[in-house]
Amino acid sequence: MMRLISKNRWTMGLFVVLALLFVVTKIIQPDFGASGVESLARASLPFAFATAAMAVVVIAGGIDLSVASMMAVASVTAAVLMQGASDAMAIPIVILVLVIGVIMGAINGALIVITKVPDIVVTLAMLFVWEGVALLILNAPGGAAADWLEALIVGGTGLLGIPKALIVLAVCVLVVWIPLRRSRLGLSIYAIGSDENAAFRSGIAVGRTRIIAYAICGLFAAMGGLSLTMSTGIGEPIPGPYLLASVAAVVLGGVVLGGGKGGLIGPIVAVFILRLVRMDLTLMSVDPNVTTIVEGTIMVAVVMLGGVLAIRSARS
């Protein structure tokens, strides 16, 4: 037990911060309850998927700047296809969108491996490409989402009073992450992140592992895009500030930029912390634009802190 705690000190700390923030929220807004938690979970859902996507590639020693654009592509594809489609048709559409996500991610990864151009440049270029693809699919916000998909995350609570959105998040992330973490592939992802040369010499196919890591990133991004369409009922071709938010949450969640360390739980808890801060500001009736400034400042501060910590750890 003690070993578990000391091993996951950072994540434990994040849970404590989250609990404290809930207390603060309760003080600001005494009637904050189940519905508040529900709306928090729903607002966090796309951010959580974006963060999961980013976390996987950062663990593999890379970065993917195109996460938000891939989410936009998934979101508009789903919204356009579901418009006028029957409820039953929504299932193959969801599967199709997830496959598209995997393909987009794999394209990113393959371009990095084949061209030997650094990930940050390739994914910057792909950020624009996917953004363009999303705009070509849908020029302005529109489309529709199947009713049962919306009902999957919007409104009410599911089992044991846990918000539906939280259950969807947990199921989606665990179904992908747990088998991966336990497998040889998962280990390879951590290995190429912590030392690419050592991984190569231990017989890991570095290129292939990297492509798979980016493909998983694309899968999570597609889930994020779907959750966007599910919660708003429309497709949005211009991506929100998910890129910076996901980098900040990944850093705050204890995943070292540079790779090889951390997991998915920490970053996702960090997402809830960042969202809850925003919610508290809204509850205190701060101007939404000021909230954006505060949020941006917090994210930049977190990333800067991450940078300082990375310098420290490199020195020692």
Binding site: A125, N289, V300
Partner: protein
């Protein structure tokens, strides 16, 4: 093997040639593009068209200067477009209160502040410039929106001087050249002939070596990002003179082309290689390409895809040509 040998040496030679004189093939490309344009719409290429192209290429080339200078150290400035927008908007809203000169001077303050924030993040926290400038850009956009709510009553106005500079022409030449030619000479001279310019190349090619030889990297980074923001601000002032309608997203569409212009111009996004001469031709190429795409009625989405692919393709090409072993 024997059949391959001349091919590789040719590639090698081409690579070396491209690296040493990126401007010559670029000018050829520019001429080819203009040729295609003339072929598609005969008679379009005339004095008036040339003037217009140069006029629109100048703000782009100035924003691309921010990218070129930061890329020389291996960085990038994604906040440049937003800095330009903020400066132009603040200036236009301050003119009724402080008059043109005061407004222009005051409007450069937010630009300097954003440059300082970028510099601090890059120099001290060692955040990747891409992430850092993205973050300050987001904060800047938020601040601009809050600011806009306060000034809605005073109205806005573009000073006549800036409109003259942005749109006017003398003897067929755009007046913006009055600002741009000294600016370009200054940058071209600065990058090769001054200590600061050489420090940028030094930090970009090998930061460790530069530091070991006594370069105080943080001072260079601070100066660089403030300079970049200042250039972006001036580019914004010029651009609002050209467009004549300040808005909350004025220069944002120039962001992607400005990166593409620097990359196409032969500046390496990894640092240490390139220069402003190529960037100027790059900006002209992208402006002509923009006209071409408009003629083809290419939708905005396809345009972004194309620019993204250009950045990727050119970078991959440079990696292949210059890192041959």
């Amino acid at each position: 093997m024997t059949t391959l040998a001349p091919d590789t040496t040719f590639l090698k030679r081409l690579g070396r040639f491209m690296r040493d004189n990126p401007v010559i093939p670029l000018i050829l490309l520019l001429i080819v593009l203009i040729g295609i344009l003339e072929f598609m719409r005969p008679g379009i290429v005339n004095e008036r068209w040339l003037g217009n192209t140069v006029k629109f290429a100048i703000p782009l080339a100035m924003l691309a200067a921010c990218q070129t200078l930061t890329m020389l150290t291996g960085g990038i400035d994604l906040s440049a477009g937003i800095v330009a927008t903020i400066t132009s908007f603040v200036m236009a809203t301050l003119v009724p209160v402080y008059g043109p000169t005061g407004a222009i001077l005051l409007s450069l303050i937010p630009a300097i502040l954003m440059g300082l924030a970028n510099g601090i993040g890059v120099a001290f926290a060692r955040v990747h410039p891409l992430i850092m400038t993205l973050g300050t850009g987001l904060i800047g956009t938020g601040c601009l929106q809050v600011y806009q709510r306060f000034v809605i009553a005073t109205g806005s106005e573009v000073p006549e001087f800036l409109a003259w500079l942005g749109t006017g022409r003398t003897w067929g030449f755009p007046n913006a050249l009055v600002l741009f030619i000294p600016f370009a000479i200054l940058i071209l001279w600065g990058q090769r002939r001054t200590g600061f310019g050489r420090l940028l190349y030094a930090l970009g090619s090998n930061e460790r070596a530069a530091k070991l030889s006594g370069v105080r990297a943080w001072q260079v980074y601070m100066a660089l990002y403030v300079l970049s923001a200042l250039i972006a601000g001036i580019a914004g002032l010029l651009y609002v003179g050209l467009i004549k309608a300040p808005s909350l997203s004025l220069a944002n569409p120039l962001m992607l082309p400005s990166i593409a212009a620097a990359v196409v111009g032969g500046t390496s996004i990894f640092g240490g290689r390139g220069g402003y001469a190529g960037t100027i031709v790059g900006a002209l190429i992208l402006t002509v390409l923009g006209t071409l795409l408009t003629l083809l009625q290419m939708p905005e989405g396809a345009r972004r895809i194309l620019f993204g692919l250009i950045i990727l393709f050119v970078t991959a090409l440079y990696v292949r040509l210059t890192d041959q072993r």
